[in-house]
Amino acid sequence: MKFRVERDVLADAVAWTARSLPARPAVPVLAGLLLEADGGTLTLSSFDYEVSARVGIEAEVEDEGRILVSGRLLADICRSLPNRPVEVSTDGAKVAVVCGSARFTLPTLPVEDYPALPEMPTAAGSVAGDVFAAAVAQVAIAAGRDDTLPMLTGVRIEIEGDTVTLAATDRYRLAVRTFLWKPDQAGLSSIALVPAKTLNDTAKALTNGDSIQIALAGDKLGEGMIGFEGAGRRTTTRLLEGEFPKYRALFPDGAASVATVETAPFVDAVKRVSLVAERNTPVRLTFSDGRLVLEAGSGDEAQASEALDASLTGDEISIAFNPAFLLDGLSAIDSPVAQLSFTTSTKPAVMTGKPDMDAEATDEYRYLIMPVRLSG
């Protein structure tokens, strides 16, 4: 194999691909980066059994070929190369990287032992990279982290025509976000359950492109793969199998009371008050006309309370939440004003964001949170 390529192009591609190299490779070859020179393209790939990353760059290919080299080492080398064209060629079991007057020789890894990379699914559409990354971050926050029920560690992606819905829950809260995208074909309908952590990482890694392509495999069993592509960079992620809870029914039909609070002071107050809330004890919120009182701690232990301005329509209500889950929601709505709708103090509350106190709340993002039952 022999090819020549621009230094910056190579360094960028190697750095990006090396990002998905596993920190603790299950088998040594997974620490390798696969280089495939074919026609006028150099393809770089990495794979950790769950996520694969692949990028194609233009190169002057003299001899076609396929080699595997240590990804960490190649990334370190490319980062420090002078700004001159880079020539890479194999010599037996070694590969030489020559750039200007710098020359490196590194050993290759057994390319025949490298696992086959998953194929990129085809059915697709596109969405702005930053919209997608923001939506994923908003939803992934509610995904479960323990492995007892694997499907709760995933984010469900539902595609119905030009609408995409993301949902995740860990039993105590549920985050749902909808956004519009451009499907390649009208009437596309598909469902996938993607591990939340990898989805979040992938979405972040692709934000530099203007728009990203999302590709889902067909509905056939066992073809569970989702692919993302942005600016020539492609990743695939394995899907989780399993039945996701029927979450739409969890949102209450109407609300007995709706409260509106400015987000920033609310967040500060929750953080302060929850200082005295011991692990797994709630903060209590009491909404009355024009006022929200937060309290935490009880009995002989330390106690705290704080009052805020808030507007309320409907019945007065007193309700308690896990402070960490409440803060997660307040940060995820990503709006200056938070709107909370309640039915009763034992039923879940729904949090949405709006740009100012008088604006209409949008249903684009909804964060459902279970209250903690207060004893006595």
């Binding site: 997974l30 620490a31 390798g32 080492l73 020789t105 032992d113 696992p115 492995d147 495999a217 569970g224």
Partner: protein, 396 residues
């Protein structure tokens, strides 16, 4: 070559797994009937019979992507990309889980449950091979129950254990059972000749002496030192003259086992370390580990250390098994049974011990060896246990 080549004397099992692999292809093609394929398998068989080998071969057959398949070939060609990476242990959808520890706990199994819920990367089957299913703690077994009973549609579990009784009843009842037999001596000898090019006499000696344990037979046939250490073990019954010599013999036995273990692990350790360092880029210019990777190497070293401990224990146990085989031969001679001796090459010593005692003595001695194995299993200091055994062997 096919993936089944390493399975010796297990024709019935191979036939069963082959037809299951064909059935699995049907399932992938969307056929209704599963054709002998199912989602959970339990491979049992005595040590060295090739439980894990069978599971890996079956996994490879499930991942076979040979072009011959469309021409009516059988899955499991042994050289396509799918078979090759499955057998070398790098296939994305074949997860071989083994432990260097004495048990597999809840924490490790939870991660398995999560992985089992993923869909396969190659669009075929995701196979999880659990090599030491007998080492699952009860809690860990319970964590797996649900995942084994109703795995994701394309996940296949393959558990390996010495016998059905070693798996929890609740796990056992959720698996299809594949029983491997002790490979016949002739088949083992034949494989040693065919694959490792060992001369017939040595092959048949090694196969007979190790009672059908393929890995040990190969080792014995190829390694001069392993043979001399074995001779040392079998010499023990004649060295039990007085208490002092009993102690010395016990020490030699323990040392021989330790030396055996050291040789096995040293070879493996060096190769693994080299592969990992290469992959991390430590063998490039400078020869230093790139930053942030020292932890991975350290982790490997820790794992190797734990494995060394376990291997040492395993080797001592095998030495005691050899010793049991010797007394079995003594009993054979004493009773005049018309079966071949395991240790024909030390027939003079067998005869001598046989003449010096009664069958009852021999049975008591075999009991003493068993007691010693149990004691070591219960964490008694190995040397102490072997010394106690040597004294009992002397008394008869």
């Amino acid at each position: 070559m096919t993936v089944w080549d390493d399975l010796v004397g297990q024709d019935r099992v191979i036939a069963q797994l082959r037809s299951a692999a064909v059935g699995a292809r049907g399932v992938l093609a969307g056929e209704e009937s599963s054709g002998g394929m199912t989602h959970a398998w339990l491979f049992t068989g005595p040590p060295g019979s090739g439980r894990a080998t069978a599971a890996r071969a079956f996994a490879a057959a499930l991942q076979c992507v040979s072009p011959d398949l469309s021409l009516g070939g059988e899955p499991g060609c042994g050289h396509c990309d799918g078979c090759h990476t499955s057998l070398t242990g790098t296939h994305a959808d074949v997860d071989v889980v083994s432990t260097e520890l004495l048990s597999i706990g809840v924490k490790e199994t939870r991660d398995l449950v999560r992985r089992a819920a993923l869909s396969p990367a190659g669009g075929r089957w995701q196979v999880i091979v659990l090599e030491d299913a007998d080492r699952l703690t009860e809690g860990a077994g319970n964590v797996l129950l649900k995942a084994i009973e109703e795995p994701a549609p394309r996940t296949v579990w393959m558990l390996c254990a010495p016998s059905v009784e070693d798996a929890l009843p609740t796990i056992r009842s959720r698996c299809r059972h594949v029983a491997l037999r002790t490979p016949p001596v002739a088949a083992v000898a034949d494989m040693l000749m065919r694959r490792d090019g060992i001369d017939p006499e040595m092959a048949s000696y090694a196969a007979r002496a190790t009672g059908g344990n393929i890995d040990r037979a190969r080792r014995l046939a190829t390694d001069e030192q392993a043979r001399s250490r074995r001779a040392e073990v079998l010499g023990l019954p004649l060295q039990l003259g007085d208490i002092g010599s009993c102690m010395a013999a016990a020490q030699r036995l323990v040392d021989a086992a330790a030396a055996d273990a050291k040789e096995i692990t040293a070879e493996l350790d060096a190769r693994e370390t080299e592969e990992l360092r290469n992959a991390l880029g430590a063998n490039g210019p400078g020869g230093r580990l790139p930053s942030g990777t020292a932890g991975v190497v350290k982790e490997l070293e820790n794992r190797q250390k734990k494995r060394a401990t376990r291997t040492q224990r395993d080797c001592l146990d095998l030495a005691l098994v050899d010793l049991t085989a010797f007394y079995r031969d003594v009993l054979t001679v004493q009773l005049g049974a018309p079966v071949p001796l395991d240790n024909e090459q030390v027939r003079p010593s067998v005869d001598r011990v046989a003449r010096a005692g009664t069958p009852e003595d021999t049975l008591r001695r075999i009991e003493a060896i068993l007691a010693c194995r149990e004691a070591i299993d219960a964490n008694v200091a190995p040397l102490l246990a072997v010394e106690a055994m040597a004294l009992t062997l002397r008394a008869g």
